[in-house]
Symmetry: C2
Subunit: 330 residues, 2 copies
Amino acid sequence: MASLSPPTPVIPVGRNEIAEASRRLASWVHRTPVMTSRTLDRRCGGSVFLKCENFQRAGAFKFRGAMNALLQLEEPSRRTGVITHSSGNHAQALSLAGALLGVPVTVVMPRLAPAVKRAATAGYGARIVDCEPTLESREATVAAEAARHGLTLIHPYDDWNVIAGQGTAAFELIEEVGPLDLVVAPVGGGGLLSGTALAVSGDAAGTRVVGAEPENADDARRSLLSGEIQLANDPRTVADGLRTSLGRRPFAVISRHVSQIVTASETEILDATRFVWERLKLVIEPSSAVAVAPLLSRTLAAEGLRVGVILSGGNLDLEAFFREFATRLA
Amino acid sequence: MASLSPPTPVIPVGRNEIAEASRRLASWVHRTPVMTSRTLDRRCGGSVFLKCENFQRAGAFKFRGAMNALLQLEEPSRRTGVITHSSGNHAQALSLAGALLGVPVTVVMPRLAPAVKRAATAGYGARIVDCEPTLESREATVAAEAARHGLTLIHPYDDWNVIAGQGTAAFELIEEVGPLDLVVAPVGGGGLLSGTALAVSGDAAGTRVVGAEPENADDARRSLLSGEIQLANDPRTVADGLRTSLGRRPFAVISRHVSQIVTASETEILDATRFVWERLKLVIEPSSAVAVAPLLSRTLAAEGLRVGVILSGGNLDLEAFFREFATRLA
C-alpha cells in the first residue's frame, strides 16, 4: 500500500539548479578532462566520452556534491560545523571542502574502517568519531554528535544540494562534447546517478540515462523494477563504493528519470578495471569500472550512439587491490 | 685518443626542425594533456607540469619519432617497407605508424620477448622476425633481412628524424604552459632526452634539461662524465625501457645540451610509480617514474622553479608488475 511508504519527495532540482551549481563550483572543482578511446569505441560500436572524475579533487566526483552543500550553508551553521557518516570518498571530499572553506567537519566512521581511509580523512583536518559497524550505531552516533555540538548533517547522497553538485559532472561533459544519446553512471546510494539524470532531464537531445551496478549489489535494479526502495544487504563486491542502498531523494529522481539499470558480474568489473588501466592508462576504482563493463560486454547496446560515461573516482588501496586482483586473475 | 673514437656526428636538428616536425605530426599524434598536482608541487617545492605521453597513441612518446621518420620516407622506400629491432614501445609505435601509412613494417625481436609485447606488435600488422637475445644476433638478423628485402632501418633512437619527433613532446609542453626553468626526461637510448634538449636549445628562457635514469643503469651519467659512451651491461632495473646504452647521435646532443643526469634507486622508482598511480591517477610505466623520483626525493632541486616532466609512457604488463610490486612492497 502506498500509504505505508513515506511520501515521495518533491524534486526541487532540475537542469537550471545544476547549471547554477556548476557556476557556483567553477572556481573550486577541477574541470576534469574528457577522454576517448578508439579501442573502447570499437569494442562497443559507439562513440564514448569518459568524464574523468578520478582526476577530481580528493580523487572522486564526491567533492562536487560536498562543496556545493557547504557553499550553500548559512553563516551560523558554517561556523558550528557539519557532520557526516562515510568511510569512503564522501568523507575525504567533505573534509577537503571543509578545510578549504574553514568549516569544521566531523566524520563518523566504523571503528574498523581501513587505516588508509582514516588517515586520508584525518589528513584534511576532519575530526573522526568512531562507531560500531552497524547501521543503528552509525545513525545513533551521528544523531548524538549532531545534537551535542549543533552540527548540520551533510548526507553522502540523500541531500538535494549534494545531488545537484554531483550532476555538474554530466553537465560539464555535455557542455564540452555536445549532445549525447546515452549517459551511464554507477549507482550506489544514487547521488551521482540522480544528479546525472537531472542534469540531462528535458534536454532537446532526449538523452537516456542508465545506471550501472554490480550484479552482486543489484538493489537499484530491483528498486526500479518494484517501484520501492529495495535494500542492499551487505553485498560482496569489489566495487566497494556501490554497496549502499538507494536514498529516498535519489530514488524519487531515478524512478522518474532513469530508463534502465544494467548490472555487471564481478569478473566483468575486474576485466573493465583492467581494460581502463591497461588501455586508457587511467587509474580508476572498480566502482567506476562498473559503468564501463556493460559497454565492453555489449550488455548495453551502444552501436552508433554517442555515449557519456562518468568515471566516478580513482581512490583505492593499491596493495589490497593488487592482492585481490592477482588472486582473481589466477 | 679521440682518433680512435668514431667522429662526433654533426647535429642537423634544432628547434626549427622540431617545430616543423610538430606541424608535420599534428594530425597524427595525440596532443597529450598536461597535468599538475598540488601534492607533487608541495613535495618538491616547484611548479611541475607533467606531459602525459602515457596517453599517446600506442601508449608512449615513441609514436612521435616513429611517425616522423615514416612521414619523411621517400616513395620507393615507403612501398618496400622498414625494419627495426625492439621488443618494446618502439616496435609497437612503428607498427602502428606503418599501419596508418600503409608502410610494411618488419620487427626483429628476441625469441623470448614477452608474449604480450609480441601480440601487441603483431596486432598492428607488423611482421615479426626472431633473433637470439644477443646484440650480435640482433644486428646480423636486421642486416640480413634489410638486405634481402631492401628495407630501410628505422632505429629506435639513433636516427635524427626519430629524435626530432621525440622532441615534439617538450615542444608542445612549452607551447602550452609557457617557459620552463627545467625539463626532466628519462634516458635510455637517449632519443627522448636528446629530442627534448634540442626542443629547448637556445630558447630565451635558458631552460635546463636534465636526464633521469636508474642508479642500476647509470650509463648515461657515466657517459656524460667521461665524455665517451659508456655501455649499459645488462642492468637489472624495474625501469625496463631504460636498460639500453646511448646511441651516438643522442650522445652528441646530450653531451652538448644536457646539464646533468640524475639517478634514482629501485626503491625510489617504485615509490614514484606508486605516487603517480595513487595520487595522480595516471597509469605510467616505471621508466616514466624515473623522471618523477628525483623531484619527490629532492635529489634534483626544484624549489621555486617551473619544471616540465615528460611522462614517457604507460605500457606495462600489469600482472607481472603486480607480482613484482607486491613482493617489493613487503
